[in-house]
């Protein structure tokens, strides 16, 4: 079990934008991710108040990354698929306490590393 030098980034985007998320993340060293299909449940009142139509079909992209490159990737996601883009994405990270299943090469490779199973 490797020590906790990883964080997991969750990026929730409109359906069909997961490729753009991965492109933005790979630019800074992420290796792979996992895409979960989901449905958004925005407050209809808030939607009309802010004049934003929320597309209910969403994709959640989970990317396990090295702590060192987490901020770069979050900034990259903000620019590429942030709320002001068609992807209307939000991204956040959570601390990871322990990880298993990464290959040694995944951990050594460059600064960033991600889901090796993909």
């Amino acid at each position: 079990m490797s020590a906790t030098k990883f964080e997991v980034i969750f990026c929730i985007v409109n359906s069909g934008f997961s490729d753009e998320v991965m492109d933005a993340a790979r630019r800074f060293g992420a290796k792979g991710g996992t895409v979960i299909r989901a449905r958004g449940t925005a407050n209809p009142e808030a939607e009309s108040l802010f004049g934003i139509a929320i597309q209910p079909e969403k994709e959640i992209v989970m990317i396990l990354v090295n702590k060192k490159i987490k901020n770069d990737i979050l900034h990259s996601l903000y620019s590429a698929v942030g709320l002001n883009t068609p992807g209307q994405g939000i991204a956040f990270s959570m601390p990871v306490e322990s990880v298993v299943g990464l290959t040694v090469t995944d951990e050594i490779k460059a600064e960033g590393t991600a889901d090796s199973e993909n």
Partner: protein, 136 residues
């Protein structure tokens, strides 16, 4: 001139009261595996006093052309989200690590994320598999 001195006062000690231990922490364990192995891994995880698991259907993001060359065009994945007590998490992770290495087609990753709070005693007891009298 300012002078930095070390305080020599003895640290105050807080007496632990009998039977007042803090409740065990819970973790979220994410396990990403091939979809065909989802139930297999969910059963293994359940053996570590896990009462609630969610299995989500997901896709891997690796380029399909590369995988096709290797004869692995199956990008269907399952994400198993389990709520596990912290004191059982290490053991569960070790078991999963071994299974990832040894089970054919069972490669995957698992990681744990700490949970900071939950609301409701019964919910806590259910999630952490604690008997009603067992909470400190």
């Amino acid at each position: 001139m300012a002078r930095i001195t070390k305080s020599k006062a003895a640290p105050t000690r807080i007496k632990k009261r009998e039977g007042m231990a803090a409740p065990d922490k819970a973790m979220l364990m994410f396990t990403v595996v091939n979809r065909s192995k989802a139930d297999f891994y969910a059963d293994i995880i359940q053996g570590f006093e896990v009462n609630m698991q969610l299995i989500l259907h997901a896709q891997g993001t690796a380029g399909t052309e590369v995988l096709s060359l290797l004869g692995l065009n199956d990008s269907d994945r399952a994400v198993i989200i389990s709520v596990i007590r912290r004191d059982r998490a290490d053991e569960a992770m070790s078991t999963l690590e071994e299974k990832f290495r040894t089970v054919k087609g069972g490669k995957g990753i698992a990681y744990t994320v700490p949970m900071t709070s939950t609301i409701g005693v019964a919910i806590y007891q259910f999630l952490c598999n604690k008997t009603p009298g067992g909470i400190g």
